[in-house]
């Protein structure tokens, strides 16, 4: 069996309690290929953020390990860039300085000029060429998140981790930045692992969507391949015949099966298999199709 570029093996997070232990998630096995864009969706409390933090090296699991590029992840590293929901920009630095902060850490041998040019290039990519000298407090939420994304891409990490990067943004801004993310990802082809609560966002961006069951005892139940053609655009992707098939499948999972599957098969730990699904290949049952179209916001508001 060939190893994936990033492979999460038997990851679990448990908290000891008075009686027994609280298992947030267990048996989480994920493989991410190089250049792949993977989204993970699940209800709050299933441990998505913990998984991402473990991938980042900021947290350690109770069991299991993360192997990236043949090495175990054992701490934070520049090989894995992180974009947090709350931007995490340093407020005393300008937009440009925030990005060059990352670039300088990544390429310490570069000259000042090189660092500056490289940082500027990425800020221009996210449309912030005119706000280089502004401090984060002078930027809107969307612009701050763009700086944060520029910083992450500019350090060209082997794996980019996005923790609900657009969660705090309004829908319009989110759409614009999603487009920018697609554009910048199209140019760099980073490997991306992203948490989101937004089904449409996941379909728009991802090559594959991982679905988690509800916690406790959460698992990655299914891995859904999104084979919509690229480059995708927000306006046109919804017209693809496969789009609603995928969307309904995902919404159905979140509304019904994420709860039904929760905690099942807990006894035979280590034997859990993630189901691989391609919804466009599924037979049209008709039932899911029509019933789910009307409830698009159930997921966004978890």
């Amino acid at each position: 069996m060939s190893k994936s570029f990033v492979s999460v093996e038997g990851l679990a997070r448990k908290y000891p309690q008075k009686e027994g232990e609280l298992v947030v998630f267990e048996d989480v096995n994920i493989g991410i290929e190089k250049g792949e864009f993977v989204c993970i969706i699940g209800h709050s409390g299933c441990g998505k953020s913990t998984i991402l933090n473990v991938l980042a090296g900021l947290d350690s699991p109770s069991a299991g390990a993360v192997i990236m590029d043949g090495r175990e992840v054992s701490g934070p590293s520049l090989d894995r860039g992180v974009v947090f929901q709350n931007y995490s920009l340093l407020p005393w630095l300008t937009a440009l300085q925030n990005v060059s902060f990352g670039v300088r850490a990544r390429f310490p041998q570069w000259s000042k000029q090189q660092v500056n040019d490289h940082s500027k290039k990425f800020l221009e990519m996210v449309g912030l060429g005119h706000s280089l000298e502004k401090k984060p407090s002078q930027l809107s939420g969307g612009m701050r998140q763009r700086v944060s994304i520029a910083r992450a891409f500019a350090t060209s990490p082997k794996l980019l981790l996005l923790d609900e990067p657009f969660g705090a943004l309004d829908a319009l801004t989110r759409g614009v930045i999603q487009d920018e993310l697609i554009k910048i990802w199209g140019e760099t082809h980073q490997t991306v692992f992203m948490i989101t609560h937004d089904v449409d966002e996941a379909i728009l961006l991802a090559d594959r969507i991982l679905l988690m069951t509800n916690g406790p005892h959460a698992r990655v139940a299914e891995s859904v391949t999104i084979n919509l053609p690229r480059p995708r655009q927000r306006a046109s992707v919804v017209k693809d015949p496969g789009y609603y098939k995928i969307r309904n499948y995902l919404v159905n999972f979140l509304v019904e099966r994420s709860g039904e599957l929760a905690g099942s098969g807990g006894e035979e730990s280590g034997s859990f298999k993630t189901l691989e699904v391609d919804p466009t290949q599924l037979a049209d049952t008709g039932e899911t199709n029509n019933s789910m179209v009307e409830m698009p916001d159930l997921v966004a508001s978890h």
Binding site: L58, P76, S88, L90, P91, F101, G102, P136, S137
Partner: protein, 275 residues
Amino acid sequence: MQSLNLRAALTSLVFLVVLLGLWEAFNQPPEASGELSEFELLMGGADQEARVPPPSQVLGHAWDELSNPFYDAGPNDKGIGIQLAYSLYRVLTGYFLAALIAIPLGFVIGMSPLMYKALNPFIQVLRPISPLAWMPLALFIIKDSEQSAIFVIFICSIWPMLINTAFGVANVRKDWIKVAQTHELGALKTAFQVILPAAAPTILTGMRISIGIAWLVIVAAEMLVGGTGIGYYVWNEWNNLDLNSVIFSILMIGVVGMLLDLALGAVAKLVQYEE
């Protein structure tokens, strides 16, 4: 109406005029009535009661002093500039020595919960001690009044800086620490590039409180150690019964204290950031 600043300035001016006017009006020497007796002449005129000199006299005296601030006519007669320079030298020396120790130590305490808990009892006991209470011990150990004064300044200005630094460092947002971690910054780089700028406004607040306290304490300390300095000057002029000089030097203490605070305020503005 004009801007608030202008109105405030005008109101201040009115208060000043009223205050000086009242002071002037109530402190006029009584008019000399007829011929002076020999005794009255010996006592310097008809004015038998001790009076606070009126502002006109004080201002006249201030003008004389300020027009030649650096004259030196012996140990008991030096210009106000020289006296203030001595005081400032002591304050700044003690203050920067304190900063040199308080800020790194505050860093350690802020970053290490163990050190925080271990050192906290010492800080809590030492902090409320009046700085002048150290003076006898300082004189005995250091055997030099000049350096003892500096030590007193050192010991009084160390606490606000130490406590504020520790607090600022301990409360740096975890997100920013995470940024440092994910960028693989070493301990030193994290301290200088993330924690220091993040905690700088809090540290500067401590430094500002400290310089204020140091300037308060130097007057008392110099009254005790004598020789030079603005505190000594005030006490010396009291011994000379020269109330013009006493009032003038009180005003100068206020002005210099304000300038010190303004200077620290300006530095604080440089490191201030908005979240």
